[in-house]
């Protein structure tokens, strides 16, 4: 065991030496469970101060940048552009999962959006995520028009699921409009369909913190 330990130690010496120099500024090591995350974050924060702010791409720029080569690199996955007017963030998303009639799209930095036949039923990685949405009623009303109840679930600060439900009036035109009223919230969703009845562009409400998500399919 002694020999193994010595060898293991020897393997770590160069990293250790470099580390000594850095130690007063930030933590380092090979173990995420013991390294100090606080100072590392602080250091990243400082580094960020001296970096010029990168202008974030707009939805239009992303659309323009999607060339056939990019599609090929992403393995020919179905693509879309998402935009959150609240933060001004736009991102290219690609389909990463399909379970029944729900398709999950992911950004390159691992935020996902799940749609049941075009209707948003969940987000992950945004923070204040929409955990689930019961939109069975809404799906029916999008074809026939009328009134629907939708039920959203969110995590509260103590990791318990909180239910918010809404009464929605839907006009089944193209684009279809859905006006929802909850206890203290009101929002308006919009869905645009192609000739085959598929949602190609939508503006849907995520939740009270994140507000709206615009999704536009990028077909070849």
């Amino acid at each position: 065991m002694g020999a193994v330990l010595a060898m293991t130690l020897a393997r770590h010496i160069p990293k250790l030496a470099a580390c000594v120099l850095l130690a007063t500024l930030a933590a380092c090591g090979n173990d995420p469970t013991t390294a100090s995350p606080g100072l590392a974050s602080l250091q990243q924060g400082f580094a960020g101060l001296f970096k010029p702010a990168q202008p974030r791409p707009t939805a239009a720029q992303i659309r323009a940048a999607v060339t056939p080569q990019v599609r090929q690199q992403l393995g020919g996955a179905t693509l879309a552009v998402t935009e959150m007017p609240e933060t001004g963030q736009a991102a290219l998303v690609y389909a990463t999962g399909r379970n029944g009639d729900v398709t999950t799209y992911s950004t390159l930095d691992n935020v996902t959006f799940a749609y049941q036949r075009g209707v948003l039923v969940g987000t992950r990685g945004l923070g204040f995520d929409l955990i689930t949405a019961d939109v069975g009623d809404v799906q029916r009303a999008l074809r026939q028009g009328g009134r629907a109840v939708r039920v959203h679930r969110y995590l509260d600060g103590e990791d318990a699921l909180q239910i918010r439900s809404f009464i929605c009036d839907i006009t089944a035109t193209n684009p279809a409009r859905e006006i929802c009223q909850g206890q203290d919230t009101r929002f308006e969703n919009e869905y645009q369909f192609d000739a085959g009845g598929r949602v190609i562009r939508s503006r849907q409400w995520v939740g009270p913190e994140r507000q709206y998500l615009i999704t536009e399919q990028l077909d070849e």
Binding site: T8, P32, T34, S36, P37, N99, V102, G157, D159
Partner: protein, 700 residues
């Protein structure tokens, strides 16, 4: 018709009235919701931690107030009063409790009863009953009656004297050491009236005026700190942010003071649900694919599956420790590093398994491992994982169909991942250590460079150590010597702090499962900065139980002051029987009975309020056969613990918590050895009822 309209109007008026009142409270110079010096009947938001520092000629006070329950709050205060005696300034620790008897209704005011400085040397001791009524959303009016310090200005004969003439005189403090609950004094002696108003002029500005019943007899008398020209105080509170308030006030017409008040609510982390990256979506099996058992005979499959699983888990902050693969069932042993929320880690593992396991595997058994011990076995059906991923009530459906069992049954079955052991983990980084409440210098801090290393020899067997070197600081400057009637088991802590380079600990630890519901630990070596020896522990904790029992026996010897490998002469055997109970709603108790470091026998009661996101605020008290006079200042050992999950601070999963222990007085009675890795905290987060409380994040 008209009549109906007016009723509706009246009801909606009431609604706004009732709704408007809670938000506007501010903290007093004593660090509790109140006016300037005087308390009100208001309560802070449930679970709020208020940290207040106030400074005036009368005193400097630092107060931590915790809203223990919607009606009950507790405060710990450290105060400094200049010129208190010939010896100079007085450094004083005090504890308060406040209970709201009646909450505010449409007509009735809120009523609260409070005990200020109810254990301590009694400098601030006083009791009160206060009533507060809000008018509209802006104006709050308080009136109250105080005893003790709060009955010292224009006091009158105690009205409670009508019940019993003993109420008319307040006995003087019995113990010079403080620290005793002096219930014999409560509501006795002269009483006086106080009151005041707070007007919330804007969202940010609150103006306050009060009539104080505190004569500040000694401060304005012998100490000569300021003059009591009027009973009236005036203040202005500015909310820089809702959680950060600044206050300036005029005290008795001759002094000015300032407050800084910060509010933290453990129930409100920076980002609800956290901002961790998304999990992998479930990969459902093709219809009929599960019948294919062709892979079972293919010998190359298992190592490839294991490797792929290990890679995907590692990307999500988990380590694969073992895998057992059968035609229709799989058992995976994982070590969770990133997610303090255990169901979240289980849910992510389940989704990863849908990518790597052959389609015929239906039963997923996930075994989280801590220090080599399987802590639980969570059994899920793969078809449920596929079915409930986007189900509106998916988390509860998953919980209803999951089986959470004891981890022992599957301990041997899983093939360990080759190459995991031995393994060296290390980290080098700064750390801050503090010593509080030394009257020569109430806050001493060191910035240390620390090297931590852990060498995992085999599952459950780890050699670990920590070396600390002071880069800058003043914890070595204390030269106090507090005489003690007991063996000096803790009172020499300041001499230990003089070591510039210290081997904080160096231990060989072994963790094991002796049987179902049983957990064991043996730790030998330099256990902590002051003690070395052997520590053994056994815990009984059934996976679905709110109740647990533990036993610990330690054979210890005191370490050299310079914290190298040497030892001193003092030896002792200590040990405890412990009972743990989870009352629900986040309230936990722990009772330890046994022998302490100075050879004294007694018990420790610990109460905690814990939040599902990892926050924990608690207090403990230890009573042993050491008498109050032998113990010295404080009379018995007590303290406050605050555990903060770093996830809350950074808004992303870090997988670690930091614990702060506030021990007002460190003495030799009721002291215990600090050993890393006590078992209860290691295992209970994977057990019931913890798992159910946190299950909301299964699909996060």
């Amino acid at each position: 018709m008209a009549r109906k309209g007016s009723v509706v109007f009246f009801v909606s008026c009431l609604a706004t009235w009732v709704q408007a009142n809670p938000a506007g409270y501010t903290y007093s110079s004593y660090g509790t919701p109140g006016l300037i010096d005087m308390p009100t009947a208001e309560v802070a938001e449930d679970a709020e931690l208020g940290v207040t520092y106030s400074s005036s000629a009368a005193a400097n006070r630092a107060t931590l107030t915790f809203q223990l329950a919607p009606r009950l709050s507790g405060s710990f205060r450290y105060s400094m009063i200049e010129n208190w005696s010939a010896g100079g300034a007085l450094y004083d620790r005090s504890f308060d409790l406040r209970y709201q008897l009646v909450d505010e209704r449409a007509v009735m005011p809120a009523v609260a009863v409070g005990f200020q400085d109810f254990i301590g040397t009694g400098v601030y001791s006083g009791e009160y009953i206060a009533a507060t009524k809000h008018f509209g959303s802006a104006l709050a009016v308080t009136a109250g009656m105080g005893w003790g310090r709060l009955g010292s200005y224009k006091g009158f004969e105690n009205p409670l004297g009508a019940l019993d003439s003993r109420f008319e005189t307040r006995p003087t403090s019995r113990a010079a050491t403080g620290g005793q609950i002096e219930s014999a004094k409560w509501f006795r002696g002269d009483a006086a009236l106080f009151g005041g108003i707070a007007w919330r002029a804007t969202d940010k500005l609150t103006l306050k005026a009060e009539y104080s019943s505190d004569a500040y007899t000694r401060e304005t008398g012998a100490a000569g700190l300021f003059q009591h020209k009027t009973p009236l105080n005036f203040g202005i509170d500015y909310a820089y942010r809702p959680d950060l308030h600044l206050q300036a006030y005029a005290l008795h017409g001759s002094a000015i003071g300032f407050n800084l008040n910060m509010r933290i609510n453990p129930r409100k982390p920076a980002v609800y649900g956290g901002s961790a990256g998304a999990p992998l979506p479930v990969m459902p099996r093709a219809a009929g694919a599960s019948a294919d058992l062709g892979w079972v005979t293919d010998a190359d499959q298992a190592p490839a599956i294991r490797q792929r699983l290990a890679d995907l888990l590692a990307r999500d902050g988990m380590q694969l420790e073992g895998l057992a693969l059968a035609p229709t069932a799989a058992t995976v042993h994982i070590r969770v590093q990133r997610y303090l929320n255990r169901p979240q880690a289980i849910g992510r593992t389940a989704r990863i398994l849908t990518y790597v396991l052959p389609a015929s595997v239906e039963t997923l058994r996930i075994v989280p491992v801590e220090n080599g011990m399987p802590t639980a076995a969570v059994t899920l059906q793969r078809s449920h994982v596929e079915q409930f991923e986007h189900d509106p009530d998916g988390a509860w459906r998953m919980f209803a169909t999951a089986d959470i069992g004891d981890g022992t049954a599957n301990a041997a079955a899983a093939t360990p991942v080759p190459g995991l052991y031995p393994r060296l983990r290390w980290s080098l980084g700064p750390s801050v250590k503090g010593s509080l409440f030394d009257p020569d210098n109430p806050v001493r801090l060191d910035l240390n460079a620390g090297l931590l290393a852990a060498y995992d020899i085999a599952p459950g067997l780890t050699l670990s150590g920590q070396l600390q070197h002071r880069l800058v600081g003043n914890r070595n400057e204390s030269s106090r010597f507090d005489p003690s009637a007991l063996p000096r088991v803790r009172s020499d802590a300041n001499i230990y702090n003089k070591a510039d380079t210290a081997l904080s600990d160096l231990t060989l630890g072994y963790y094991f499962r002796p049987g179902e519901a049983l957990y064991g630990r043996v730790t030998v070596g330099y256990l902590e900065s002051m003690y070395a020896g052997l520590s053994t522990e056994v815990l009984w904790k059934p996976v679905n139980s709110r109740f647990a029992l533990g036993a610990e026996v330690n054979r210890l010897r005191q370490r050299d002051f310079d914290q190298d490998l040497g030892l001193r002469a003092y030896q002792v055997t200590t040990g405890h029987l412990s009972a743990y109970y989870d009352w629900g709603r986040g309230y936990h108790t722990q009772l330890d009975l046994g022998r302490y470091l100075a050879g004294d026998w007694g018990g420790t009661l610990r109460l905690d309020r814990e939040f599902a996101n990892g926050w924990r605020v608690g207090a403990y008290a230890t009573l042993t056969d050491v008498s109050a006079s032998e113990f010295g200042e404080g009379s018995f050992d007590k303290g406050i613990m605050v555990t903060i999950p770093l996830d809350h601070v950074f808004g992303r999963p870090v997988g670690r918590k930091t614990e702060a222990l506030l021990q007002p007085i460190l003495r030799d009675g009721g002291a215990r050895v600090k050993v890393d890795g006590r078992l209860y905290e290691k295992v209970r987060s994977y057990h019931q009822p913890e798992m159910r409380k946190q299950w909301g994040r299964f699909w996060r």
